[in-house]
Symmetry: C3
Subunit: 151 residues, 3 copies
């Protein structure tokens, strides 16, 4: 089954791949590994903004992390790499967090679960999840990724 078929089966439509908000690339392929820039959470074209533990609820944060994951897939698709995913190696999840919010792992699962749904075992990755003071454009979550490709 292709990844495109699997996405269809799951009822997932990928967003339009976002252009970088500054002078860098969405991704770079090096020695069979793609390094993806930090992706921000767009849901229905609107950026999910705010801070977990303050003005963003846990479920919204999980949706935001999933939206970052969908943007990772959209970037891969836009660069002809989606069907070449061999292994999701590492996700870096940055959660905009109030000082007393400690559920970054639950938020990050929004992105992690998506990878498992779409790629199965190939989607099972290492991960870091941390709470940061603030993110670009006041985004609630940012996710970057390292993904290994088939030839």
């Amino acid at each position: 089954m292709t990844v495109a078929d699997r996405l269809k089966e799951l009822g997932i439509t990928l967003p339009k791949a976002a252009a970088p908000v500054a002078s860098y690339q969405p991704l770079v392929v090096e020695s069979g590994v793609v390094h993806l820039s930090g992706q921000l959470p767009f849901v229905n074209g609107a950026l999910v903004t705010g801070r977990l533990g303050a003005d963003v609820a846990l479920e919204q944060g999980q949706d935001a992390a999933r939206a970052c994951g969908l943007m990772i897939l959209a970037q891969l698709e836009a660069h002809g790499l989606l069907e070449r995913v061999r292994q999701v190696v590492k996700l870096g999840v940055f959660v905009s967090s109030a000082p007393d919010f400690h559920d970054q792992p639950k938020v990050a699962n929004g992105a992690s679960d998506l990878m498992a749904e779409v790629f199965g075992d190939r989607g099972r990755h290492a991960r870091s999840a941390v709470g940061v003071a603030v993110l670009p454009l006041n985004a609630a979550v940012e996710v970057d990724a390292i993904i290994a490709l088939r030839d």
Copy 2:
């Protein structure tokens, strides 16, 4: 000398490898390099919580960073990779920090010095250390790693 022998010589007993607190893997091996998920500091089975510069003293923070490093070693051992370490390449150290705490490098040395003690030159790594607003489960420190393996 094996790494196990060296640990014995140093009087180090590794903790039990912690299960991921969410839907990801403790580590992924890709092209001879292992990417380790962010590890949290367990000392005698209890998570070291709080914020450097507020309710966690510098020395406690260093112990916490060392505990994250020990958990990295425990994860490697649990996956049969400990004796295959060829080079510790990079540590990413996230320190839960009060806004006026600037000694993240000293905290991070808790993990860095451990790698040097255990692996000698093979343990000399690149590193980033930053102060973050808050960490999962209110952990004081989180450390992830990239480590190259022998065949």
Copy 3:
């Protein structure tokens, strides 16, 4: 044209490569890829300190990010790697940020634009930019990097 020639053409003099402020290495080369430790912003030998959105203006922050980028180049030069850069793969940009500062991408461009100026297409990289609570020594910006080398 060598990188050294290009730097001369741009009127850029590299700073002295800073020694690590703790027990780690400025960089590690692994399988043709160099992992650089987080570099801090020294301008005319003085560390740029403070927080964007509070006591550091946007333009100062951009200069600080550029200074981090220059230090990356200085580290490469000090290790005989500057002329071997094949591709800047990924920059990780950590911006010390007040809670309502959202222009991390503009700050990070200080480093990204430098890479493009110096290396052209080889300098076009993936990037993550996040706002953190505080950085080592109260630095305004910290930048780490993954860079692929020619043989």
